[in-house]
C-alpha cells in the first residue's frame, strides 16, 4: 500500500503523529508553492500552517481518489488565493490545476515569482547534486538514479540490479547521505 495512504488512514483513525510525518514530508514543497503567491517567507509559513490545518480538518473526507500530495497541493493553492484576497491583493492570473501539480515548476508564469538569487541557487543546487551522483560508486549512483530519476520501486531496482531489497535500501541511503552533505556545503550549513 502507498505509504501516504497508510499514513492518512492512521490519521483518520486518530493517530496525530502520522500527520506529523506527512507535514515533514511535504512542508518544504508546500512552502515553496505558497511562496510563489505570497512572496514573503514569513507570511508563506503562516499560510502553509493554515493549509496544513485545513488539510487535517478535511482528512476524514479524503478517499484516496487522488494522490495525497495532489489533494494537499489544491488546498495550499486555495488557501494562498484566499489569503491574498483577504489582504486585497490580486492572486496570479494563472490557475494551475491540481492534476498538473508535478509540472508546477515548469510554469513560466510562476517562475517570475522566484527571485534571481533563489532561481540561481536552485539551478546551482541541481547541478551540484548531479555532479555528486556522478562521483558516487557505480552501484550507488545507479540505485539512486533508478529511484529518483526513473521512479522505480525498491523491488524493481532489486530485480534490475540483481541484488536483495535490503542492499537497494542501503545504497540509496548512502547516495542520499552524500547528496545531503553536498547540499550542506552549498547552503553553508554545518560550518
Amino acid at each position: 500500500m502507498n505509504v501516504d495512504l497508510e499514513l492518512v488512514q492512521r490519521v483518520q483513525a486518530g493517530d496525530k503523529k502520522a500527520f506529523d510525518v506527512l507535514i515533514l514530508k511535504y512542508q518544504q514543497r508546500i512552502v515553496h508553492v505558497i511562496t510563489g503567491f505570497v512572496h514573503d517567507p514569513v507570511e508563506a509559513l503562516d499560510v502553509a500552517q493554515e493549509a496544513f490545518i485545513k488539510a487535517y480538518r478535511a482528512i476524514p473526507n479524503f478517499r484516496g481518489d487522488s494522490a495525497f500530495y495532489t489533494w494537499l497541493y489544491r488546498i495550499a493553492i486555495n488557501t494562498s488565493k484566499n489569503h491574498l484576497t483577504s489582504r486585497a491583493r490580486r492572486p496570479p492570473a494563472v490557475d494551475v490545476d491540481a492534476m498538473d501539480a508535478t509540472n508546477f515548476y515548469d510554469a513560466p508564469e510562476l517562475k517570475e515569482f522566484e527571485t534571481p538569487e533563489s532561481s540561481l541557487m536552485s539551478d546551482e543546487l541541481q547541478q551540484t547534486i548531479h555532479q555528486a551522483i556522478q562521483g558516487l560508486p557505480e552501484d550507488t549512483a545507479t540505485a539512486i538514479k533508478l529511484r529518483e530519476l526513473e521512479g522505480m520501486s525498491y523491488e524493481e531496482i532489486a530485480e534490475v540490479m540483481e541484488c536483495p531489497i535490503g542492499t537497494v535500501r542501503s545504497r540509496i541511503f548512502r547516495a542520499r547521505d552524500a547528496i545531503d552533505k553536498q547540499i550542506q556545503e552549498i547552503m553553508g550549513e554545518g560550518e
Binding site: L24, I179, M187
Partner: protein, 188 residues
C-alpha cells in the same frame, strides 16, 4: 543515529515502509529531534532531484501545527459517533412516488382551470367541472368541433407544451398509470 535508523528514514522518503517498520519510523520521529531533521534533509534532497525547487531546508511546521491542533477533535471520536448515530432514512421509492404525485397534481390542476360555456340546446350533457380557485383570471374555454380550445392563444400554447413535455409522468408507477396525454398539435 544508527545506520539502520538512517536507512529507515531514507526508505520512508521513498514510501517503502509498511507495517512494523512504519511504526518504528513513526516512533523514532516522535522521540528523536535529529531524526526529524534528517528526514527533512533526505526529503529536500529528493525534492531537488525532482526539480521541486529551492525551499527552506530547516523549517519545521510540525510543532506550530500540533499546537494549533491540540484542541481539535480526535477523529477516532468522530468515527465512533458516526457509528452510534441513528439516521432514519426514507426509502428511495417514497420520494419517487411523492414527486410523481406532485407532478400529476399540477397537471390535473391545469387541466381543470376555467369555466366552459355550453349552448342551451346541446345534446351533450354539460359536465360539472371542479373550479380551482386561484388568483389568476379564468380562461375562456369553448368547444370548436371535436376539440376544446382555450381562446387565449398564448395560454393554449403554453398548456399544450406543458402537457406534451410532461407526458412521461403519465406512466409513473402507482399514479396516473392509465392516463394518456395527447397533443393539440399534429406531429407532437
Amino acid at each position: 543515529m544508527t545506520v539502520n535508523q538512517n536507512e529507515l528514514l531514507s526508505a520512508l522518503v521513498d514510501g517503502e515502509l509498511q507495517g512494523e517498520e512504519l511504526d518504528d519510523a513513526l516512533q523514532l520521529l516522535d522521540t528523536d529531534e535529529q531524526a526529524r531533521l534528517q528526514l527533512q534533509r533526505f526529503q529536500h534532497a529528493s525534492d531537488v532531484l525532482h526539480g521541486h525547487g529551492f525551499g527552506p531546508r530547516n523549517v519545521d511546521l510540525t510543532t506550530r501545527i500540533s499546537t494549533a491542533l491540540e484542541n481539535e477533535t480526535d477523529f477516532s471520536e468522530i468515527v465512533e459517533n458516526k457509528e452510534t448515530a441513528q439516521v432514519l432514512a426514507f426509502p428511495k421509492q417514497f420520494w419517487k412516488q411523492a414527486v410523481s404525485l406532485a407532478v400529476a397534481a399540477s397537471i390535473g390542476a391545469l387541466a381543470v382551470v376555467g369555466v366552459m360555456n355550453q349552448p342551451q340546446n346541446q345534446l351533450v350533457p354539460n359536465p360539472q367541472l371542479a373550479v380551482v380557485e386561484s388568483e389568476t383570471a379564468p380562461m375562456n374555454v369553448a368547444r370548436t368541433g371535436e376539440r376544446w380550445t382555450v381562446q387565449e392563444q398564448e395560454v393554449e400554447e403554453r398548456l399544450n407544451s406543458y402537457l406534451v413535455d410532461h407526458h412521461e409522468y403519465a406512466g409513473a408507477s402507482g399514479v396516473f398509470s392509465y392516463a394518456r396525454v395527447v397533443s393539440y398539435d399534429v406531429g407532437r
